[in-house]
Symmetry: C2
Subunit: 85 residues, 2 copies
Amino acid sequence: MKAFVHVSLKKSVLDPQGKTVQAALQRLGYSQIAAVRQGKSFELDLEPGLSEPDARQLLERIARDVLANPVIEEYRIEVLPNGKR
Amino acid sequence: MKAFVHVSLKKSVLDPQGKTVQAALQRLGYSQIAAVRQGKSFELDLEPGLSEPDARQLLERIARDVLANPVIEEYRIEVLPNGKR
């Protein structure tokens, strides 16, 4: 089973990296981009044999404890059905 | 309109950052995680008034020229319908 954990800064936290990308895009003429925020994504391969609810619970724990800093970051978990991608 | 551009290393490129995360997870007892690959994600706000096909074309250009290095990275574009998230 494959899963993604997307980690991004909370809306209330300043994102200088995203601001810099947006400024660069403006300079390059991409004025249609109003705002950019940058985050991280983790693609995880899980050992076979885990049910989807178990996988979600495990990923929730991993995301909260290891991959994201819950003080300033939020995360979103996406589990891909078996055999996809 | 909101869109995501997910950038990750090509499968054929070594990902030491992902390997390190996986080794840390193993040490912490998360043995169900077989592999980890790390990538970047960009959340872009587009100015209103763009049609979805135009937005996709614009994002394709931005992803290829600015956000990803097509020599070693691949990208995936996700356009969220208006009003979502």
